[in-house]
């Protein structure tokens, strides 16, 4: 029985090694991400509010986001349109695209049924992300076990948007001397129509080194039913960069024993 469980586990790609530089593709991804965090007008560090539009959202000081200088401005959800009112002629706001309003950028997102508005202020301070040294022993390849029956549930994406995600199955990860079964969800990206097989997990580093709520890591298809789970690619939910974002609740059961010292760390204030 033990042998069978191990056979179904993801297998480590490499033996433990001394801390190393990230391989070039991962280093390039990290550099691009760090540059985006540091410079993009819609960097999550610049987010000052993210709220559901619902039946209408007042933007000004007495409204939800409490934005300065936007007295009377309001964002409404009309039919399937997001419309800005209260500042002259009503104007539709394109979804997933920034619209400048004074010092702020407004980006309607979410799904067509449940839109949210994210507001950015480029003047907000930003911090450089930090990663653990690359650890090839925390990279695994193995099978994704499909769910017994198809199901879906609403959950929050890394950028705090509520979507309907489908259960994609589980992977068994041999860490800390035991095999832990982690739930994998297929999370759609409403902006692109693509999707990622994501694992939102916690481990002992959440107590002080990584974001307390947990981290996301995406499975990388390897052909057939085999996937690569590389904890060096673990990343923070956007609520780690700005309290404007809603933070996903930890996924039940996705708790790894011991410290997963790989991937993104939490840079505290």
């Amino acid at each position: 029985m033990v042998g069978r469980v191990l056979a179904l586990c993801l297998a480590a790609v490499a033996a433990p090694a001394a801390a190393a530089q990230a391989p070039p593709p991962l280093a390039a991804e990290r550099a691009a991400f760090a540059d985006w965090l540091a410079t993009a007008p819609t960097s999550p560090f610049a987010a000052v509010a993210q709220q559901p539009i619902g039946g209408g959202l007042s933007l000004g000081p007495d409204g939800g986001p409490g934005l300065e200088g936007l007295q009377g401005a309001r964002v409404n959800f009309e039919g399937e349109r997001v419309v800005l009112t209260g500042l002259g002629t009503p104007r539709p706001l394109p979804r997933f695209r920034p619209t400048r309003l004074g010092r702020y950028l407004l980006v309607p997102g979410g799904t067509a049924a449940t839109p949210v508005l994210t507001v950015f202020d480029s003047s907000r301070a930003r911090k450089a992300p930090r990663w653990y040294a690359h650890d090839p022993s925390l990279e695994f390849v193995g099978a994704l076990t499909p769910p017994v029956e198809a199901s879906s549930r609403r959950l929050l994406t890394p950028d705090g948007v509520e979507v309907e995600a489908t259960d994609a199955g589980t992977v068994l990860v041999p860490l800390g001397g035991v095999a832990t079964r982690l739930r994998v969800m297929r999370i759609p990206d409403p902006a692109t129509g693509e999707s990622e097989l994501e694992v939102f997990f916690r481990d002992s580093t959440n107590a002080g080194e990584t974001y307390p709520a947990g981290r996301f890591v995406a499975l990388i298809p390897q052909g057939g039913d085999r996937y690569r789970l590389d904890f060096n690619r673990a990343r923070n939910p956007f609520c780690a960069y700005s309290s404007a974002y809603a933070c996903p609740l930890p996924w039940q059961g996705n708790l790894l024993p011991g410290h997963v010292r790989a991937g993104e760390q939490y840079v505290k204030d």
């Binding site: 991804e29 991400f33 539709p92 394109p94 990388i220």
Partner: protein, 391 residues
């Protein structure tokens, strides 16, 4: 002097990147093949992206040290690569709301060698994509083109453009990359069933099975996607590129057969429809026919959108009026066309009789890559126009 020489020695200069490059995006599911053609122009270089010999302008090419950056102007995306000897190695980057999405990119000088499509694969295939228990239909059209195996993928709202085919034994890979959309399907013939995976972006993979099209409807008919109020003339009123408001009762439309082309310059399928509509304009214009284009663009800012639409008009030599109607998503466009019900696709082609009432609404457009589907659709458009002109 020594210091100057050393400094000069460290300055790497990129070789002239002009010419064709056979390129690859390394997706998780394998290499997506396409071609980049870089040409010299006054003051710099420009790039085109090509799929199975069909090329579209991509944007300017910047040289910085030993690297090049191709700005994919229409998509806020770039291809950045280091030039070494006769190869390019770097990444395609497209910035979304969750940050930059990087896909490894590499290229070598020259073009992809053509591979022939086996006769057993040629033709139309009814494909069913299945994700976590949910299925959606597509039609794959596989054929032998001037550059070897090529294909098209057709959904309920049109096709995705021309796909470059690569055949190796009983396995095939068909790829399409236009600067924004990253699509590939890989498959193997298993008896009389094609089994494989549809790849979108770096690692979204959807399994499919496909069987030979047998004449039964696999997709929704383009004329059944969107309905219209036919009790009254079709109404619209939008500014033209000079800022003048143009309405449905404009003298240019009154008493004529009119085709309303609901399009966006960002919509690649619309680019296939535009020259066809212009050919109808020229052929049937003297007989009381006209086309009017309603552009749904990126920003909703007429100054910005106007530039894009003018460029589109010049690219296809359009002689019919183009109006700036709004912003380019179905959900934003639908309320501006309240007489349509179920508007879902760009382009949507609306045929109006001489009394101004809607007689037919065609959602989406099958581009030339779809072969017979394209030819049949153009013939249907022509037949409808001629029928309406005879009334």
């Amino acid at each position: 002097m020594l210091a100057t020489t050393a400094a000069l020695a460290l300055l790497a200069i990129a070789p002239d990147p002009s010419g064709p490059w056979r390129a690859v995006l390394d997706l998780a599911g394998g290499p997506l093949r396409f071609e980049v053609t870089i040409s010299r122009e006054t003051g710099g270089f420009r790039a085109e992206l090509c799929n199975a010999g069909e090329c579209a302008p991509a944007g300017p090419v910047r040289l910085t040290g030993d690297s090049i950056v191709i700005d994919l102007t229409d998509y806020a995306a770039t291809i950045a690569a280091r030039v070494s000897d006769d190869s390019l190695v770097g990444a395609y980057s497209n910035v979304g709301n969750r940050g930059p999405r990087l896909i490894p990119f590499r290229a070598a000088r020259g073009r992809w060698e053509a591979t022939s499509l086996p006769a057993a694969l040629a033709g139309s295939w009814d494909a069913t994509l299945v994700t976590d228990g949910r299925s959606s239909p597509r039609i794959f059209v596989l054929s032998e083109g001037a550059r070897g195996a090529e294909g098209a993928v057709v959904s309920n709202t049109g096709d995705y453009g021309r796909f470059h085919g690569m055949v190796a034994g009983d396995s095939v890979a068909f790829s399409h990359f236009d600067g924004s959309f990253v699509y590939m399907f890989t498959a193997r013939l298993d008896g009389d069933t094609l089994r494989g995976t549809f790849h979108a972006g770096l690692r979204t993979q959807t399994p499919f099975t496909a069987v030979r099209s047998a004449g039964r409807a696999h997709l929704k008919a383009p004329t059944e996607m969107t309905s219209a109020d036919t009790t009254e003339p079709f109404r619209f009123a939008f500014p033209d590129l000079e800022g003048r408001l143009v309405a449905h009762d404009d003298p240019r439309f009154r008493g004529r057969v009119v085709v309303v082309d609901v399009f966006g310059t960002w919509c690649s399928t619309c680019h296939y429809a535009a020259p066809i509509l212009e050919s109808f304009q020229r052929e049937y214009g003297p007989r009381g026919f006209t086309v009017v284009g309603l552009a749904y663009e990126v920003t909703g800012d007429t100054a910005v959108d106007g530039v894009l639409v003018r460029r589109y008009r010049e690219k296809f030599g359009l002689t019919f009026p183009l109006l700036l109607a709004g912003m380019g998503t179905a959900e934003l466009a639908a309320p501006t066309l309240p007489q349509l019900n179920g508007f879902t696709a760009f382009p949507t082609t609306i045929f109006l009789a001489r009394d101004g009432r809607v007689r037919r609404v065609h959602a989406g457009f099958y581009g030339p890559a779809t072969g017979a589907m394209h030819r049949q659709q153009v013939a249907e458009f022509r037949a409808v126009i001629e029928s309406l002109l005879r009334e």
